[in-house]
Symmetry: C2
Subunit: 254 residues, 2 copies
């Protein structure tokens, strides 16, 4: 089941369709029985038609099986899938609406996969404990360094080790802007504009540029890999908005 | 059970002793019931005393439980452990003596962990199939990039992906020598001598310098991660013995 049919939800349906043979080698009975967005949901226990689903932009265009005006919570209650993929928009402040959906699923023993930082930043330990208590899994590999399996690496492959330090580029947009400023002597404003035009930066650039996105990742990494109990407020944040060409020239010389 | 009590076998005993609490969290009944070297073996089904074992250099110094003149094969037959760690010296030509011990264990349904490249270079697919057939595991993370869990990373964390290319520094000694030659304009002979004196290079430096070690790793990586069927003879090898200061100067300029 997929909660959310924005960019991530639609891309996931495409990936499911393209990799369906590989997935069925692992799970012969794999099917998508429900997809929801904020205005209603599709539901069919026999499995939705992935080929049809990957070509539509809005769930109501699927045709049959669409329940207008009904909520994602209703879908979770009604369909009881093995796995729920939560793909609603990120809100750091309270983790909603994803947090409510994830709580609901885990409480029903439904495993959850999410790439939504909000719920994890707000309630990491509550959710991991909930999953443990109900004998299901909460997986969140996509929240940090999406293409690098960092959480499963530590969980599956480094069992005898303790993580002492984590370092890396935590925000690609910031890295892009700083690189353009440093190597091509571009101004901050121009580099940011370019990043936005190339679709690298979020629409609300403050998430990237003011370090909010990186801070969220630090919270999740510290809690998940170093067994800490850290909140967003605990992270000391310095954005890159105030960095000038002059500061970079000085950095280059030193 | 540990086959081989050289540098690796002794260090493993130390690590078992130091991490015994962490290990027992995973396996409450963990114990080492046998250790062998080429001249005999220790065996005690109740578990050997790791504290005593970590302080001796030769198995016969352990005292009781030592069976002089008996072979590792005999120990495998007699003790039937859940897991055998194979830590005999590496011989690329025929993979022996490790290959025989690993075959014996897998045929008896005993899982095997080895960091010995020889048996895997000679008989990778035979051994992995043997493990599969007998419902046990063959693990060899230590053979390539010992500190990086590269094989379990791909097996556990990248199940949906296909490995298209592998790149990296495959031999630390070669990298050390080239760095000293390139950055400090040292001669090949001097850099090699330094590497040997610092204990970085193998006693037989040809393994490192002539690319044999790196070629073995290529064979194992290609077979394990790219599903190839490659032998040592299939790898094109260029060592670093012939590289001169003049060649490096030219490389620097280009």
């Amino acid at each position: 089941m997929i909660i959310g049919f924005g960019f991530i939800g639609r891309d996931l349906v495409k990936a499911f369709y393209e990799k369906k043979d590989a997935i069925r080698k692992i799970d012969r009975d794999f099917k998508v029985i429900g997809v929801s967005h904020s205005k209603g949901y599709l539901h069919n226990d026999e499995g939705l038609d992935l080929q049809r689903l990957q070509h539509i932009k809005n769930l109501e265009d699927y045709g049959s099986s669409y329940h207008a005006g009904e909520s994602s919570l209703g879908l979770i209650e009604k369909s009881e899938p093995d796995l729920m993929v939560e793909a609603t928009p990120t809100r750091i402040k309270d983790g909603e609406p994803g947090l409510t959906f994830i709580r609901k699923a885990l409480n029903s023993g439904i495993s959850v996969v999410t790439s939504n930082k909000g719920p994890l930043v707000v309630a990491f330990h509550e959710l991991t404990r909930l999953a443990e208590k109900n004998g299901c899994e909460l997986l969140y590999e996509g929240t940090v360094a999406g293409a690098i399996p960092i959480f499963s690496l530590v969980r599956e492959c480094l069992q005898g080790d303790r993580v002492l330090r984590i370092s890396g580029i935590l925000n690609g947009t910031t890295n892009y802007i700083l690189s353009r400023m440093y190597f091509d002597e571009m101004s901050f404003e121009l580099a940011l504009k370019e990043a936005q035009e190339r679709g690298i930066s979020e629409r609300d650039s403050s998430y990237d540029v003011d370090g909010i996105d990186a801070a969220c990742k630090v919270v999740i990494l510290a809690n998940a890999l170093m067994n800490r109990n850290v909140k967003f407020e605990d992270v000391e944040i310095t954005g890159i908005r105030g960095i000038t060409q002059e500061a970079l020239s000085l950095a280059k010389k030193s």
